[in-house]
């Protein structure tokens, strides 16, 4: 799977209240959640981005609560991929489970706000089109690849557990 999009840069420890504030958690509506994505730290984020864009962040992205509304809001506003130096663990599993592509790599340091990024999830390679720098990242272990290939945990469950 190949993804090309514009980078939107964030710092370390972007937490789930930053991604989607708790006052909006009285709904599971993906469009409503998406409209408030990142607004605490980046007003009108969902209006400024284009479909297929990429979030690029530092350490511990998605720390805080277990709310799956966070990756849902990100996916819902059209973000195709989140690249971070590292992810908080519940956000990581939520993203895998709902089929939001995420990768962990130190290459984020080479990426500037607005750069266009090419990512090949199958080969584990990443290119910054603006500065032509190339990098790679460690692909997921086999177990997670299976979930991702199925399109998320419930699809994987249907194939494996539900007869």
């Amino acid at each position: 799977m190949k993804i090309r999009g514009k980078a939107w840069k964030f710092g370390d420890h972007v937490n789930t209240d930053d991604i989607i504030a708790a006052r909006y958690l009285n709904t599971t509506d993906i469009n409503e959640l998406a409209s408030h994505c990142m607004e605490t730290i980046f007003p009108d984020f969902s209006k400024k981005i284009a479909k297929g864009d990429i979030i690029v962040a530092g350490e511990n992205f998605g720390c805080g609560s277990s709310r799956e509304h966070a990756p849902i809001a990100i996916k819902g506003c059209g973000i195709a991929l989140v690249i971070a130096r590292s992810f908080a663990r519940i956000f990581f599993r939520n993203a895998i489970n709902i089929g939001l592509p995420i990768i962990e790599t130190n290459f984020v340091d080479r990426i500037l706000q607005g750069d266009v990024i090419d990512v090949d999830l199958d080969t584990g390679t990443i290119v910054d089109i603006n500065n032509s720098e190339k990098g790679d990242f460690i692909k997921y272990p086999e177990f997670l690849q299976q979930i991702i290939k199925s399109g998320g945990l419930m699809q994987w469950a249907k194939e494996k557990h539900i007869r």
Partner: protein, 418 residues
């Protein structure tokens, strides 16, 4: 193996497991609340499954926005209520409900050696009884509803040894805030945090719950304390079964061992906007406050209220401060009434809220306006956590929070109670 590895191995039928290994483990209890439950139920229904794996092992606790703050939250709770009726799962209605992580131990639903998942990040609380307990997402919970299983990566363990005894006005909250300050909000990311040492052995269950509750604020997968006589007494008093008491082997492997002298820790306060911004309370004595919240899954248990009442007795809340007391469960509330604590709070000018997560996550029952400052016994002080994105939350233990309510600024309890 460590205690965490032993519990995980038992639940996936292996003799031995190692950090980094992916496992599919059987779960003993699955929890969801009014925010995360509806999403899990949506996912469950999409699968077309006709039944849940075991209704007695599914607990739905509408505690975040209840008693429902608006129409939307009422609709969310209705989804939980209907699901629980249809599939005969456990459900706690208003009048019975309390904050999930105080309620489940009180109800005897968490036992030593069990594996518990919950769609709430503070599910790590139950490690205090020697269980493996971790926060997951709604889809994980839906998967659990169907299969009774969860996928996990076995975490490496970090051992935290607390030597000495806690001083006056110092408890579980101060220990955990100090620890997070030392290692950072990602200092235990993906790790099992195992707490031991003389200071831990001398702590009550309530303090142990507080410590394990905040393991997630250091990025931890789980917090855990090996069960002892205090755990046994607690479990005997609330549960039909105590569960299995595991201990780490002498040759268990740890990624890191951190030693902390508990006797050198004073009451801690974490400044906005990270729980790791913790320092001694005396460094904050010029911070004026508008609101105090004493409650939450971190510090809303009976011993927390006793500590706050000890400070409040015969005093008055400062005229510029709103003080909100939130007993975590109905039992805590009732016990506080029996002991006269509620009267002490009301006489001092505090308001008592029904059990709810409420203001901790900026939901209701005490939301902050622009520029306002609160000190709270809650667990997170992220930007906008208690309300307006330009409001400020300081975290502390109950004694510090109540002393601050009386003085109108962040205060050491000995400023009020000599």
């Amino acid at each position: 193996m460590t205690i965490t590895e032993k519990i995980l191995a038992t639940h996936c039928g292996l003799d031995e497991i190692f950090p980094g290994q992916f496992i599919e483990a059987n779960v003993d209890l699955i929890l969801a609340n009014d925010i995360t439950g509806p999403l899990a139920i949506e996912e469950f229904e999409k699968t077309g499954a006709k039944k849940v794996f075991d209704p007695s092992k599914i607990v739905l606790v509408p505690d975040h926005f209840t008693p429902c703050k608006d129409i939307k939250s009422a609709e969310m709770v209705k989804i939980l209520r209907n699901f629980s009726k249809k599939y005969k799962t456990r459900f706690y209605e208003i009048g019975k409900v309390g904050i999930e992580h105080a309620l489940l131990p009180e109800e005897g639903l968490v036992t030593a050696g069990s594996l518990i998942i919950g769609a709430d990040s503070h599910t790590c609380t139950y490690g205090a009884v020697g269980a493996f307990s971790t926060g997951v997402g709604s889809t994980d919970v839906a998967f659990g509803f169907v299969t009774g299983k969860v996928w996990l990566k076995v975490p490496p363990s970090i051992k935290f040894i607390y030597t000495g005894k806690c001083g006056r006005f110092v408890g579980g909250k101060d220990i955990v805030l100090y620890t997070i300050g030392k290692i950072g909000v990602d200092g235990a990311r993906y790790r099992a945090m195992e707490f031991e040492g003389e200071a831990i052995e001398n702590l009550s269950m309530d303090d142990r719950f507080t410590i394990c509750n905040m393991a997630i604020e250091a990025g931890g997968k789980n917090g855990i304390i090996a069960p002892d006589i205090i755990t046994e007494d607690f479990l005997t008093s609330v549960a039909k079964e105590k569960g299995i008491f595991y201990r780490s082997d002498k040759d268990a492997k740890y990624e890191n061992v951190v030693e902390i002298d508990a006797s050198a820790i004073g009451p801690q306060v974490a400044a906005p906007h990270l729980p790791s911004n913790s320092r001694d309370v005396r460094e904050f004595s010029d911070v004026r406050i508008d609101q105090v919240v004493i409650g939450s899954c971190t510090n809303g248990r009976i011993s927390d209220l006793r500590r706050a009442a000890m400070i409040a007795k015969g005093k008055s809340v400062h005229s510029d401060v709103r003080a909100i007391i939130i007993p975590a469960t109905q039992k805590v509330y009732q016990q506080a009434m029996k002991e006269g604590l509620i009267n002490i709070f009301i006489d001092a000018g505090c308001v008592i809220s029904p059990p709810t997560c409420g203001p901790c996550l900026g939901g209701h029952m005490g939301v902050l306006a622009k520029g306002e400052v609160a000190i709270a016994t809650t667990n997170r002080n992220f930007i906008g956590r208690m309300g307006h994105p330009e409001s400020f939350v300081y975290l502390s233990n109950p004694e510090v929070a109540m002393a601050s309510a009386i003085k109108g600024r962040i205060s050491h309890p000995d400023e009020v109670l000599k």
